[in-house]
Symmetry: C2
């Protein structure tokens, strides 16, 4: 008998039939003797519908009111779900933020959960009632409705699991788990049995869309085992857990890619101290996040050049800002390129093993793929390449690190 | 400068364009120097859509969860409305029940407002912000969401106006005001300038659908002047106000009709005391509300008969219950008729004037309309007639009491 938090995504509750399927799944877990707390997303398509309405009402919808609007999506889901469960003869009780007492900061649209007062949840469980919590939303200290950003229901679920010290947080989604890479790009992609929090964090921030990144941070901070699995099949998915010895044996656990960045290159910069700082402070002041940076000095010309990546939607704004610096930096030439992709390998084993980077670069070179930029952290290496080479690069790296074969710790079994 | 509560119904906020029109109307009132508090219904069709979803999920949707579901309708309206107002450069702030602090009893689906703590509304007004309140819903003492029943946003508006001691509560709807009778049935129907709370109560309970009946009770109890008017035109509608001397000069203010009842007739009853009590107690225990009753004694036969009306949807259930009494009441014959209508004349002047009933009966007789049952109160007379004679009866009565002509107190002007 365990205390389980189950979160179901928008596709899993996309229509009444699917809501009833989910109800059956929850009831089964209850009948197996578990205590279940349910967290739901809005029905698939509902959030988009509401955003369209808001955009009809205003070019830039007010952030506070947009959250009031979007929060209705999950409210509809939890009400319908409880109606279905009760119709099946079981007890369920919907809990909105002011009832489940989920508090956040006041950052509308991207709020962070600060506190969950679990009394109402425990009270329901004590009475044998399934508490059903609206994901994605909370209340700030003044009682305003806030939302956590796209995918935020994952974070609600993990935060609730952390607050209850639940045995596991099950994230039900439309994929079967976390894969070594995107199965749509490479059919040899393999579902991972286990992955560490840190690896999952890197995967999420480098392009894998399985889990909301904040939910993984929460899981890591409070050591909540997260089980990513499909609501459409019964087989186990992927456990996201604390790193252990066996995981360190593995050099690379996955290959991620992202096509959401643009590269900006500045040539003809004076090769004197402080130029890069001047440029990046100006860009940061506009709220634009720079990811990778390469600076090259032209020893013979006395001129330097600088390349960096920004999110694609910010490219035009970044260029406008840089044009404004031309008076200060005469001779600066600005060019940019959106046809780039970032391909990354992730693995906690990298920390203790040399040669991983070399293998990556060699493999890409052998496939004729040119590396434009490189960035590394303790457990990942990312390369910017030409957009059109993405699939090829993913496949080459997946093969090079033998990701189609079960990992050492998976053969050994869990723990 | 006045403090005005404005309530807009589902048709008035039926799409984004109309929401923007309403926003303009509110802004105009603000620019004229008034303080405005807005109460909104769900967008037209939204409540029906949600009910359909609930009925897909369960044959009899759980009452608590149905309220959680339906409450989203108004939440969407107020969020979109505030987004539109803010886009026009004005300040508005949506308030849900847990924010506006609208408390009710725990009767899901037909809750009654028990308390409104007005601090958040005053705080908004103090800061020059238009408070925009979700109609139709409240919280019970434990924080559960409740709804007030169809048309409940009217009641929210009047209750808010009462709590704020507002100068007027304007109910914007898709008709221009309260009419002497349904203009769809008689084109001579005339919009009333004023009507008393009691007359409006009778009109609402006898079939006129302009105002939620509970809202009129609230208005009467707290003496809130209610202005019923159209959101699509600018002309004044009808004031629902406290009765005054001038109103008593008028015999009849309106003709109402309703086709929502069925008549049940029991023949061959033993003519002994206690029979009627036995029958009506049994029916009342099943939660069926009996409206009009006629009992006739068969002086020659020693048998009595009994006719009464029940809501049409309850007819079958009532008959089943009566069949169950046949053992106790041998010889009882049960018949029923759904093809009936109730036509009523309403007017506070009846209290002090004789002959009104006679005029009604004579007019119907002259038109060849047979009266099956009669019931009266201080300020109304209702007759049950054949369904197919409804329009004719309404027209005849409208003519007989000269309702197409301005009423005495309307000629005299207000007060």
């Amino acid at each position: 008998m365990a205390l389980i938090v189950q979160k179901y995504g928008g596709t899993s509750v996309g229509n009444i039939e699917r809501i009833k399927n989910v109800a059956n799944r929850v009831i089964r877990a209850k009948n197996e003797g578990h205590d279940v707390v349910v967290v739901l997303s809005a029905m698939a398509g509902e959030t988009d519908r509401l955003i369209r309405l808001a955009n009809e009402a205003a070019g830039e919808p007010d952030a506070r009111e947009l959250d009031v609007l979007l929060a209705t999506g999950e409210q509809v889901s939890i009400a319908l779900f409880c109606i279905a469960v009760k119709d099946m003869g079981y007890k369920a009780r919907s809990l909105l933020s002011h009832q489940a007492r989920i508090f956040t900061d006041q950052a509308y649209g991207r709020a962070r959960i600060s506190e969950i007062r679990t009394e109402p949840i425990w009270h329901s469980l004590y009475k044998g009632v399934v508490p059903v919590i609206a994901g994605f939303q909370g209340l700030d200290a003044r009682g305003n409705i806030t939302t956590l950003g796209r995918g935020g229901s994952d974070t609600t679920a993990v935060a609730v699991a952390a607050a209850l010290a639940a045995d596991v947080c099950e994230i039900y989604t439309d994929v079967a788990g976390v894969y070594t890479t995107d199965p749509n790009i490479y059919k040899k992609a393999r579902k991972l049995q286990r992955i560490s929090y840190d690896e999952m964090l890197e995967m999420a921030s480098l392009g894998a869309k399985v889990l909301h990144i904040r939910s993984v941070e929460f899981a890591k901070k409070y050591d909540v085992p997260v089980h990513v699995r499909s609501s459409f099949v019964d087989e186990p998915g992927t456990m996201v857990v604390k790193e252990d010895k066996a995981m360190e044996e593995v050099l690379v656990s996955g290959v991620a890619y992202s096509k959401s960045d643009a590269r900006i290159t500045l040539a003809g910069l004076p090769d004197v101290p402080g130029i890069a700082a001047r440029i990046f402070i100006t860009i940061a002041e506009a709220g634009i996040v720079v990811d990778m940076i390469i600076q090259g000095s032209g020893y013979t010309t006395g001129k330097a050049n600088l390349s960096f990546t920004v999110p694609r939607p910010d490219r035009q704004a970044a260029i406008r800002i840089l044009e404004g610096l031309k008076k200060e930096l005469p001779g600066m030439e600005i060019s940019s390129d959106e046809e780039i992709a970032k391909v990354s390998i992730i693995g906690v084993g990298m920390r203790h093993h040399a040669g991983v980077a070399a293998t990556m670069f060699q493999s890409l070179a052998k496939a004729g793929i040119n590396i434009q930029m490189i960035s590394t952290s303790e457990i990942k290496i990312s390369c910017v390449i030409e957009d059109r080479c993405t699939a090829k690069a993913v496949q080459v790296l997946h093969d090079a690190f033998k990701l189609e074969e079960p990992l050492v710790h998976e053969i050994a079994g869990r723990d």
